[in-house]
Symmetry: C2
């Protein structure tokens, strides 16, 4: 087998960005505000979505990205929402093409959906530079991961519109300074909005959903 | 700027594997057993190394891989061990070339080191296919990340020699079935050895270090 040659850089990103813009147009035409959710494996992305499903009900639709298994989509369906699973089969992030196919598979128009959550592959690095057609990126960091992560993974934390600190019910059992995390995130990214949530108790999830719904109104009105 | 062209696939991996084999020879010549530590951001890789430093003392030497910051190497040095920080500047995994340069920077020979721990970039996906010259890969998963991760990230969990379930002091506060995780890992990987640790209490860390030292004897004798 000879060397495989892959052209990367501008052409790949241009193609991705073109598809992402098309996705965004499609989402808006369908009345959807789209959120790209990025965090480590096990940071609580799917649990946050389950908690959001309890607030948003059937107006929430979810595209799940995983390297392998349909486990996350099954959890979302169990929580009462429509979900589509992308299995990347090795790829460490979603791209706009995968999301475009998932959106076609779901059929988004005329179904009363208002918020599209795209749960990216569990990874704090590779997903950060791929626009999927979202309106905002939501970065999630749990209090069990340590409060030193923002400056260690600046590529993602400088690009997010929303920072969610998750699993705050575990705060009494770990050393974690939320103020430090939020301040370091604002130092990279002055416009970030910060929420503190527990999927277990539901704390903070209502505020987060209200913010997303008000951003939806703002974007769709524009 | 025109398209950048990067040849990937065989040539890159061949070059990596050649360098990795050279690293491994150098490590053995220096009396070192090398462990490549792979886990998500915040899973407790550096905390495990701090706990191992309390057992192994100055016989432990550490190469730290991070996208950005020297924070982890500083923690290891504070724990009394020699450490070298690689900042990948964006790359989502270490490769054998980076480790080769770090090893040259450290100067491993004749310094009484016995165990080289290479802490990979926090990422459960991309590091799995790169041989760095280690003798074994150690995969680490904390009890706060959820017990569904093994089959979601099979590329890494099928390649590790050691599975560490970390933060077991937090077990009373989370739902996590260690038996399920270990069984799913063995289903991919029958020879994996499983340890359960708490860097906070030190539980399990002595057993892990004893296993690594006995593997060192076996490898260096061969």
């Amino acid at each position: 087998m000879g060397p495989r040659i892959l052209r990367i850089g501008l052409p790949v990103m241009e193609k991705n960005d073109r598809l992402a813009a098309r996705n965004r147009g499609l989402f808006e035409k369908s009345g959807l505000y789209a959120v790209n959710i990025i965090g480590s494996p096990g940071t609580g992305k799917t649990s946050l979505l389950e908690a959001m499903a309890r607030v948003l009900g059937k107006s929430l639709v979810v595209i799940e990205g995983d390297v392998q298994t349909r486990r996350d989509a099954e959890r979302i369906e169990k929580a009462g929402c429509t979900a589509f699973q992308i299995e990347t089969g090795g790829a460490c992030h979603l791209d706009a093409g995968m999301v475009s196919k998932a959106a076609a598979g779901l059929g988004l128009e005329g179904r009363g959906f208002e918020v599209l959550a795209i749960e990216n592959v569990g990874n704090l690095i590779c997903p950060s530079s791929y626009d999927l057609g979202e309106h905002t990126k939501l970065g999630i960091l749990s209090v069990t991961e340590g409060d030193d992560k923002v400056l260690k993974y600046p590529s993602i934390f400088s690009r997010i519109g929303i920072l969610v600190t998750s699993k705050i019910d575990l705060l009494p059992h770990v050393g974690f300074d939320i103020g430090r995390v939020e301040a370091e995130c604002r130092s990279l990214n002055p416009d970030v909005l910060c929420f503190r949530t527990s999927a277990t108790t539901g704390e903070g999830v209502g505020d987060l959903c209200r913010h997303i719904l008000s951003e939806r109104k703002r974007v769709l009105r524009a």
